[in-house]
């Protein structure tokens, strides 16, 4: 199980708590985790990445293990600590404004 931490606005939208456990078969990547997350919580479709192009929304960031993974390939494997469930994948609304 991948542990995904959602920002508050998306927790409310999806009707879930801070952490969502996402089962992923095969290689765990940003894409496969988001595919599974959107499938289990359809209200999130289009809120983290474009529903058609799958491109990350500009003000959404993906952090894990104290690293910013946002600009890595969406299909790159996630860190082992995330795959093992030891560390979460953090989905962050980027800081904006003053």
């Amino acid at each position: 199980m991948i542990q995904v931490v959602l920002p508050k606005n998306l927790q409310i939208l999806a009707g879930v708590g801070r952490v969502v456990e996402v089962p992923v078969s095969g290689v765990a990547s940003q894409s496969s985790v988001l595919d599974a997350l959107e499938a289990s919580h359809p209200a999130l479709l289009g809120t983290m990445r474009d529903a058609v192009t799958k491109k990350r929304r500009p003000m959404i960031r993906f952090f894990a293990c104290e690293e910013d993974l946002s600009d890595e390939s969406p299909d790159a494997p996630l860190p082992d600590e995330v795959v093992s469930g030891k560390e979460p994948l953090l989905i962050i609304g980027a800081i904006a404004g003053g």
């Binding site: 409310i12 359809p42 289009g46 929304r57 003000m59 609304g93």
Partner: protein
């Protein structure tokens, strides 16, 4: 006994305000969708318990919400607004060609006869429809692909389709307004469109009486007289009596004719309301005074309505979708401000009081008159 339910969209959530027909005591429910921009909420006139909400965010994009129990509970509907076919380009702020990009839903307009049908006006300007209660959406592309569309340009708020009016006597006839393209009319349910801007004069565009390019802020129709529409343009208050074919200015004695909202008394088709705003560079009311202006003559002659409204040190704005009227007699008038107040008048504008204060900045106000 009748009741009223006021639907308020703000920068940080939605609020539902309820009262009986006296419109004196109110309950405030919310925030719904806390933290999200709620550009517009509107209920089906056929099924008043069905309410739609446009929930949007610069971070998380567009969500479309629907309630089937009068706003007690909500469920997310479809949020895929895909332009139909090649998107083409419109003009950008610097005059360059810019591809159409969907950003958000500004306005929701439920069908007057079918509870499952609803239209959505979006930025970048286009019109979408849903025939399944907002679950799936398809574009009515004839508007966005109009031969003039490559010359449309955004206003300061973006290039948005923010107003839609359906003719109740002939629902195939519909009007939309786009900033900054102007007013368009379809007589065939959106299959084709004609610009309806004859008579508009806008000194902020190179050709002041251009075919398209006008920054129309709002249009309003009384259901008993669908050939007559009133318009608050960027500057100028306008009127047409021939379904938009020709417009004439009715600003008359207004202290300034810049503004956003315009609406019509439910029981008096010639009683019109505007809220003059100082100017396009001062997006607040004049002289620190919040004044609604009422014309009982269909324009030209206007009176200031001030009783119960702040008359000093007030510097709020009232945005284009933030005024509405109920269907009681006397008609109630409602508007919301950038300062988070929602004001109501239960007597056609003679007296006002704040239903609620200190909400986030108000983006839209709609009212339902419930039996």
């Amino acid at each position: 006994m009748s009741k009223v339910r006021v639907l308020v969209g703000t920068r940080k959530g939605a609020f539902i305000l309820s009262s009986d027909a006296s419109r004196k005591k109110w309950t405030v429910d919310g925030p719904h969708f806390a933290g999200w921009e709620i550009y517009h909420l509107k209920a089906s006139p056929v099924n008043p318990d069905r309410i739609y909400a446009s929930q949007t965010s610069g971070w998380f994009g567009q969500v479309l919400q629907r309630s089937d129990d009068g706003g007690k509970t909500w469920a997310a509907g479809g949020n895929q607004f895909l332009y139909d076919g090649p998107t083409g380009t419109h003009k950008w702020y610097d005059g360059s060609d810019h591809p159409w990009e969907f950003k958000r839903v500004w306005h929701l307009e439920p069908s007057l006869s079918d509870p499952e049908k609803i239209y959505a006006g979006v930025e970048d300007a286009a019109l979408f429809e849903s025939s399944d209660g907002g679950t799936t959406w398809s574009e009515l592309p004839a508007l966005r692909t109009h031969k003039t569309a490559a010359e449309w340009a955004p206003g300061a708020g973006g290039m948005c389709l923010h107003t839609m009016v359906i003719d109740p006597s002939n629902q195939e006839r519909m009007y939309v307004a786009i900033s900054a393209a102007g007013t368009f009319r379809s007589d065939d349910s959106g299959k084709s469109w004609r610009p309806m801007n004859n008579g508009l004069k806008s000194n902020y565009i190179p050709d002041p009486d251009a075919y398209v390019g006008h920054c129309v802020h709002r249009i309003a129709m009384h259901p008993s007289r669908p050939e007559t529409l009133f318009m608050q343009k960027h500057w100028d208050v306008m009127r047409t009596d021939d379904g938009g074919e020709n417009w004439r200015e009715i600003s008359g004695n207004l202290p300034t004719d810049f503004g956003f909202v315009i609406d019509i008394n439910a029981n008096e088709p010639d009683t019109v309301y505007v809220v003059p705003i100082t100017s396009d560079s001062h997006h607040f009311v004049m002289d620190g005074k919040l004044r609604v202006y009422r014309s009982r003559t269909g324009g030209d002659d206007w009176e200031a309505l001030t009783k119960g409204l702040p008359q000093e040190n007030c510097y709020v704005n009232v945005l284009r979708d933030a005024m509405t009227v109920d269907n009681l007699d006397p008609s109630g008038i409602y508007f919301g401000t950038s300062g988070g107040q929602v004001y109501a008048s239960p007597d056609g504008g003679d007296t006002w009081s704040a239903i609620v204060r200190d909400l986030p900045a108000v983006l839209s106000v709609e009212v339902q008159t419930l039996k």
